[in-house]
Subunit: 186 residues, 2 copies
Amino acid sequence: MDNYTSVDNVRARLIIAGLTELEQHGAADFSLRRVAKEAGVSCAAPYRHFKDKDDLVRAVIEYVLEGWTLLSGQLVTIFASDIRALISELSVAGLRFWIANGNFRTVIMASGTLGSGERGALSSFDAPIKQAVDRYAAEGQIVDSELLSFKILSMLYGAIILVDGGYEATEHAAERLREAIASEIL
Amino acid sequence: MDNYTSVDNVRARLIIAGLTELEQHGAADFSLRRVAKEAGVSCAAPYRHFKDKDDLVRAVIEYVLEGWTLLSGQLVTIFASDIRALISELSVAGLRFWIANGNFRTVIMASGTLGSGERGALSSFDAPIKQAVDRYAAEGQIVDSELLSFKILSMLYGAIILVDGGYEATEHAAERLREAIASEIL
DNA sequence: GTAGTATGTTAACGATGTTAACTTGCTTTT
DNA sequence: AAAAGCAAGTTAACATCGTTAACATACTAC
């Protein structure tokens, strides 16, 4: 019989408990003990599955990023025939993704919080976009691929901060981002 | 005789102690007790000057931002006759400012950490740039001022994240930012 | 069956943010 | 000048936190 359902049951529960903890209390007030209680285990149990608190948080982020990998993969498929649309849609979707996953960006973008893994997380996020830009450049368009990547990625991350800071509403920023990118890859 | 030197001596000491604390331990490990000890007072003394820990951190950030206000003010004066150069120099200086003040951007850009004041801090940072762009638009250039502000500010903030995340070296990013902005306001 | 390992428990430690109760010294009022 | 009031420091205590150590228990392998 398969034992897949019971494999690492507690670990999985800890991760999704950590996810709601992150959503509700943010990165600053993230309490490992609360997560353990929420998962129905003792306060020391997490240490059987994770090195320390940051390790759990890292796992939660990894879990969340799987959603992005899935989503971006679908976009790549859908817009396979129109690279410019792909770049645009990936960026706007990326913006919405970060805004929807409110507190995660705080953790990922704050360098101190996670050891040296944060670029790993970030790069696994912007890889699809960078890849699409490279493909755009490779398809004969005369562009400085590196500069274009920088422009688009920085605008994307910057838009997140602007929205987060209350400078603009999400949808407004999404539209602006779409415009800005369109003007770059016309 | 002037009693300026002794006015709020402890409060001032707490702020600069908080500043070095933020530099050395980051926002996540910021310890109020350590700050108090560093300032030579008891662990409860800060509560005579600040509502709570976050209030102290806010004060530290305000203090740091005074440096930017000063710097940006000088740039505005220096490049008064060349708005395009002003926009460019303000942006690059802004990037360098955040990178130099490593741990502060973590605090300011993480929404959860500071109550609702974070946009206040951010807006007092990007106000000079927004202002310069508006002036650029007002001087007869046919541009969508709002869109241009969005582009430049988002690229600026995004560049900070990219540098912070290890995507690019500071000077490299500064050069790219300069290029990107130049291509927008030619 | 017995040894070993994986995974849970409870109990404890030190550090932290915060508050309450108190002292102390200066300023103002009478 | 004496008293009242207040600003600003102290110490002591509390709950919570991350983390570790010591112990228990069940599954797995030889």
